[in-house]
Symmetry: C2
Subunit: 444 residues, 2 copies
């Protein structure tokens, strides 16, 4: 067969997803998410894929017309995934869908096997005396439910963040938790855990919600449960990571700049479409759109952070490298691509005039200003703290965010182009105001 026939077949194509992509081809934000997830895909902090993503980001930002585009390397203590496997072995043998948590302890390829002790809540794990779990594996149930603002992730996320350390201190040889997620698919949610200083890491994994339901049902039978657990991933020091920055210079370079952040790294199970390719897409497209027609007064710097997922290392590195440069305000997009429903401003009390102008500009876009400070964003937190910067928090609808967060299902098809465009519109309105504001953002 000749080449032309293949080409014709290709033209015949194409799935609806690809058609949707084509329809959006002139959309800067969509292209960033589509191309980053397609051409790089999963980009775990410290991995070769994250390095490829930095090169990709530099090339894309340069092509889009950003100035001073730079990769700023740093090294991290990271986690390299191995084989993840678990099964109930008694009373009812059955495989479980599991993922290792970042910084999990390591098993051999043969795994470990032990009695599985059921804890319905995080508190019940915390309540047992030290040593009780000696030689056993803990299972912590505790189902997070969806909320629009994602506020369940704080308290329920602690099961993942602190649970393994607590189980280790109580003598457990391993721990499995119900995924910190709100879906009901066999896709477990990964994420970093943290063992306290001096506590030896134990193998720590999360099973999907249907698998956690399964364990809960078996637990109610009262029969002793046993689990086999194989998590061969390893924590490694001095892995290469880095940030990528680029600028759209303002009319007055002497004025402190506006910093807009997101993160370039992703968990390795999915392709990081909603977490956080879409964040980088939104802030970058909005920065460009805010300058369409005429430059803004202040310089806008985009900051695509590395190694957010493993502990916000990119944000720390940024604050160290750029801590002496004048910033006027920092913002971040790192909560998916669903519509923005609220705006919160840290300067609401000190600069009511600016607060009012921003709220008024967003009101026609369906965005409310309920008061309160909101959350600035992991990657801009360190520079905000260092320079006591003001920030604007644009709250996205997180009702479905934790269906996908840190799972294999974080892929391009989950991004709604219309909702992402709404984000770009809202961000553009805010940037047009703050980047053209001559006075101090905080007021006097």
């Amino acid at each position: 067969m000749k080449k032309p026939l293949f080409a014709a077949l290709l033209l015949l194509a194409i799935s609806s997803a690809t058609a949707a992509l084509a329809a959006e081809k002139n959309n800067i934000a969509w292209d960033i998410v589509a191309d980053l997830t397609t051409e790089i895909g999963p980009r775990l902090a410290g991995s070769p894929a994250e390095a490829r993503a930095r090169d990709w980001a530099k090339e894309r930002l340069t092509a889009l017309g950003f100035s001073n585009v730079a990769i700023e390397p740093f090294t991290i203590r990271g986690y390299v995934r191995g084989e993840d496997k678990a099964a109930l072995t008694a009373p009812y043998p059955q495989p479980l869908a599991i993922t290792a948590l970042g910084y999990s302890g390591t098993t051999t390829t043969k795994g470990i096997e032990g009695e599985l002790v059921y804890f319905p809540t995080f508190d019940s794990l915390k309540a047992v005396p030290d040593g009780v779990l000696k030689g056993k594996i803990a299972f912590v149930d505790h189902a997070m439910k969806p909320t629009q603002d994602g506020s369940g992730y704080g308290p329920y996320g602690n099961v993942r963040r602190q649970g393994p350390g607590i189980a280790a201190q109580k003598g457990a040889i391993g721990i499995v938790i119900r995924s910190i997620g709100t879906d009901s698919h066999r896709n477990p949610h990964t994420g970093a855990t943290d063992f306290p200083e001096g506590v030896k890491a134990i193998p720590a994994g999360a099973v999907s919600n249907p698998d956690a339901d399964q364990i809960a049902r078996v637990a109610t039978s009262g029969k002793p449960m046993r689990l086999s657990l194989t998590l061969t991933g390893q924590t490694k020091d001095k892995l290469p990571s880095g940030n990528v920055i680029g600028e759209l210079p303002g009319r007055d370079p002497s004025l402190p700049m506006i910093l807009v952040g997101c993160h370039l790294d992703s968990w390795d199970l999915g392709t990081g479409a909603i977490d956080d390719a879409s964040g980088c897409a939104i802030v970058t497209a909005a920065a460009l759109r805010a300058q369409q027609g005429s430059k803004t007064l202040r310089t806008i710097r985009v900051f695509w952070a590395g190694s957010e997922e493993l502990g916000g290392f990119g944000g720390d590195a940024y604050a160290q490298t750029h801590g002496e440069e004048p910033h006027a305000l920092a913002m971040e997009s790192d909560f998916g691509a669903d519509r923005i429903w609220k705006v919160q401003m840290s300067f609401a009390k000190t600069n009511q005039a600016l607060t009012g102008r921003i709220a008024a500009a967003l009101n026609p876009l369906g965005v409310i200003a309920p008061g309160g400070e909101g959350h600035a964003g992991t990657d801009v937190q360190a520079i905000i703290k260092k320079q006591d910067l003001p920030f604007v928090s644009l709250g996205q609808d997180g009702t479905h965010y934790f269906d996908l967060h840190h799972t294999p299902d974080d892929t391009l098809d989950k991004v709604d182009p219309a909702a992402m465009e709404h984000n770009v519109q809202v961000w553009t309105e805010v940037l047009k105001i703050v980047a053209n504001e001559a006075g101090p953002i905080k007021g006097e």
Copy 2:
């Protein structure tokens, strides 16, 4: 810590799923699905788990009061899953979520690697001359869309059933297809394929829909694609399987019986909740309910088939074993647990009186009688053919069925207890009529 504290913790529990379970505790159908999926789980045809499921089924049917409960063994040519792994290696390296198809050819643990040739449709694969794919791996796109009656599974399912054999005949060293499924999760859909006599099996797998979208996007870039593929599962002869039957004797055992079928085996990725634990639950609960208060005139036999998924071997074995016993009618439930929306009867033209009575009984339950024969069911097809039996087809809503079918996501949480109860009600109405019908079901 003492036992009582653990018990107290257990009481504190319990996830919503478990609560839902508790609320349904007196429901025969729900218990069958919950217990079979919890206590046995995945039960691939020919596996030790399928054997445990037969013992479980015998025990359960006996406990429910069925007579003549029997396991009827036979052997099959089956498929034993190995490691399933795939990745695009060029132009953009990225892992893919894949599952081997049943009867796939086998790779070593190192896998194969080769050029990936994109075919947008099944027809475009069929159109290429023999030998063109020599040394290459074929990818067939071709997305099935949801339909209420599931009718897309016929034509689109042929990509899975026949595609690998065709690719092998054209010289391919492997084939990957878009999953025959309507969801957008990273859970690929498995299922049996079939290599024609004399054609050597090649490694054959299905990627999830988001992964197929990914391949389609890369294909449009025009850059040559390469794929690595590891599918180490093996086809094995003489694996043990078997059917399980049980009876509710009628008032007149001399009359031909009513046969109600389902299948006990499941694919191995999920726990076979909708395919087909719920079918067995529905027919069994309905048979018992039809006899509540007073016995039906005719005997009702429940038939939980083995090895449906790999080719309907249980149905063939049943027809061989019981082909000389008098049957009056056969029916099957094997399309999930969503609501029944239509009834079709093979005897609509020859017994209008009975057809009318059945349609009238189901009308208040929201079930329409649109005419046509419908589908009898894989497991009862052989006995229907052998004895030229009439059948009733109760059509379930299949809009979401192929979101879950043959995936890891076929788990208990996907069963809606209210919809399953609707199935039991409809089945009960039909069984009350046909099992109390003294005359020939087909009419004169």
